[in-house]
Symmetry: C2
Subunit: 415 residues, 2 copies
């Protein structure tokens, strides 16, 4: 894409009311726009980053048998009444709205109830199980305070996967498969080394649930990390009983701040009991479906990645998350330079390399500052001086390594 065709601009200062680093950087670089506290629009570069994160998660969900769906934001009250959650005391983050005829509706904050209700159409026999629907869906949560940029929103994107199994044994196998898929996702996102499977409080059907917590100074959670075993314990269950369960001692654990990027939860028959989701087993007797839920917040992840992969000059996107791979800087406006830069733009794209081409008539310093702020992995410069040497200047954003290369050598770097 040419900068001249991209409508966003960078800005030197973040808005005064924006206190989170992720939103400050992403707003300055033109990736997002703050509509109101906790509610952000995604601009072209931000949309691409979010799409890249979503696609990685999607591939891993499909690989374990997930079926992608898209449920609705508008929700009837009946399934929520059945589960006892149609109540501001229980669900204190509901947004409510009304149909023209006065019927009260909820705005989806989570989807256990409508999905359990929906699955009654498709599940009647053990032959219909297991089932693994998932979605990427905008969630609405009426948070009192929303000061963490896109890391805690009132309107945000969530990947929610649900499992429907014949019994706990089948459930447990899938639960572990999701855990493994999540580990692959953190690896692919470049945060595998700082993300810990963390023991957290369970529910009626399991002693523990598991969170995936990424170490971060802006984390709202406190976890106790066991480096060697690559696990952690959330402070809410950091007690002698849990330490004994896991066979670890306090002196092996380090207290850290962390951000919850995912969670997996054994729901058991909580919702299938409430909404009467049953199946007939091989012996002909009726059983409740055994459920689990598995969340990841792609927009929160994007915020975390912006915090994690950045320096004092701006964002530093990893290769597979970046909106484009190359920031092509044209310095000068002579026919020769313009032709050369245009050709380079076409050439790289013809090799399947995505490029943001700074074809504006702006000062070199401004272009370099934008390249750093936007944070594409590779910067390529075409200028009069370089043309004379028949070279291209290549700079790696993350390491700062800078080289004068021939076209062939540049291509070797990029493919």
């Amino acid at each position: 894409m040419r900068r001249s065709q991209l409508f966003t601009k960078t800005r030197k200062q973040a808005p005064a009311d924006e206190v989170s680093k992720n939103a400050q950087l992403l707003i300055r670089a033109g990736f997002i726009h703050k509509e109101m506290a906790g509610v952000y629009a995604y601009l072209p570069l931000g949309k691409r980053v979010l799409d890249n994160i979503v696609q990685i998660i999607r591939e891993e969900m499909n690989a374990i048998g997930g079926n992608e769906v898209n449920l609705t934001a508008l929700q009837r009250r009946e399934p929520w009444e059945a589960s006892g959650r149609w109540s501001d005391e229980v669900m204190d983050v509901w947004f409510r709205t009304k149909l023209a005829n006065g019927t009260e509706l909820g705005l989806g904050a989570t989807h256990e109830e409508p999905l359990t209700d929906l699955m009654k159409q498709f599940i009647s026999s053990y032959k219909d199980l297991p089932a693994y629907p998932y979605q990427f869906q905008t969630k609405f949560r009426n948070e009192l305070r929303a000061k963490s940029g896109i890391m805690r929103g009132r309107e945000f994107l969530m990947k929610d996967l649900y499992s429907f199994s014949v019994n706990r044994e089948e459930h447990d196998v899938f639960y572990d498969r999701v855990s493994d898929a999540y580990d692959r996702i953190w690896q692919r996102l470049g945060i595998g080394n700082v993300t810990y499977k963390t023991f957290a409080s369970g529910g009626s059907f399991s002693k523990y649930s598991h969170e995936f917590q990424t170490l971060s100074d802006v984390g709202e959670d406190i976890i106790y990390v066991h480096e060697a075993r690559k696990i952690a314990i959330n402070e809410e269950v950091y007690n002698d009983e849990v330490l004994a369960d896991l066979g670890v001692s306090r002196d092996e654990l380090i207290e850290r701040k962390a951000v919850e990027v995912g969670n997996i939860f054994t729901l058991g028959t909580k919702f299938s009991d409430a909404l009467n989701l049953s199946f007939v087993d091989e012996q002909g007797s009726t059983q409740r479906v055994f459920m689990g839920s598995y969340g990841i917040g792609p927009s929160r992840l994007m915020g975390l990645l912006a915090e994690h992969f950045s320096d004092d000059r701006g964002l530093v996107w990893p290769e597979n998350i970046a909106p484009m791979r190359v920031y092509l800087v044209r310095i000068g406006t002579s026919d020769q330079v313009v032709q050369k830069a245009d050709k380079m733009y076409e050439f790289l794209q013809s090799k399947g390399i995505s490029v943001l081409y700074d074809d504006r008539n702006a000062r070199p310093g401004d272009k370099f500052a934008d390249a750093d702020l936007i944070g594409l992995p590779h910067r390529v410069v075409v200028s009069e001086r370089l043309l004379e040497q028949e070279k291209i200047e290549y700079t790696h954003r993350a390491s700062g390594e800078s080289l004068l290369l021939t076209e062939d050598a540049l291509l070797d770097k990029l493919v």
Copy 2:
């Protein structure tokens, strides 16, 4: 995908309360689920169809310089007050909701106001224009009645593109480019021959707007079609003045029912005046930005396509819209047949051909009925009897043509 891994089932009867043919078929085939009137969830096969439609539109929007964004559903009242539309009289389809602190919000029914407000950050000079942001966004409209399945929803997907231009001349050029892009979209969706660019009422800044109307017995609009010139006139402006403008006479026109699948509209400075969106021109004087809006409803299109491409046995998806291309039917459960069918499934997928593999232990009649109802373009049957002949039975869903083929000949059919 294997049927055994797809959680949806087909059903013989549509729900009694569902009166529209598109929703009846799509629900019976397991593509969608009715959450409430006008609010539908997309199940795995339906999600794929919708994604295919979206991708075609996206490619054509990008080809004319569109920048994809994603605005928010939750909307502040201020921009709507500025334009005079924060009012139930003017916007009678608003859903409203409230923040926890009592602040009233709207649920996006359309996005002119928040986008115009947002663009003030990025537009200050003629150098910043033109700009063409667009999005695929869930819209919420509090319709009193919603009986057309996914063709008129209370929650539905919309592609909305907006243009920001220096003046009417620049606007007009882009307006025509969008019109051409829309024509390419209808062609690619297989409804080019029944979709007419239709003159409809304009606003303060243009005598006409243009709708794209697809002929359909379930259409809610009446249009007057000029076959030879491939244009039409909406009944709302079917009068002598318009006939004279277009140089056509009543006896050349045929009255038809039609569905509005897209529209393009010259907004002029209506919203830039209201929200103070200006730029400094080359002469240094301040001008209002000249705007246009361009909508397409992908979920409505999906409903229309379901109505249009179907027969008494079910859906008949065109090649580029179908959720998968091949419905592979395995008849029999012998090791030999299972092996052969499994191999065929892997083989077709390895050739890049998407397959829905009916690996269930169901009766052949049920499998054939499902193949017809789900409506993938190609049906391939593997059975004991066919194995003996070293043949595969191939059936084309649209034409009913059925052939016994070798594997090589089958591949020739499909690639």
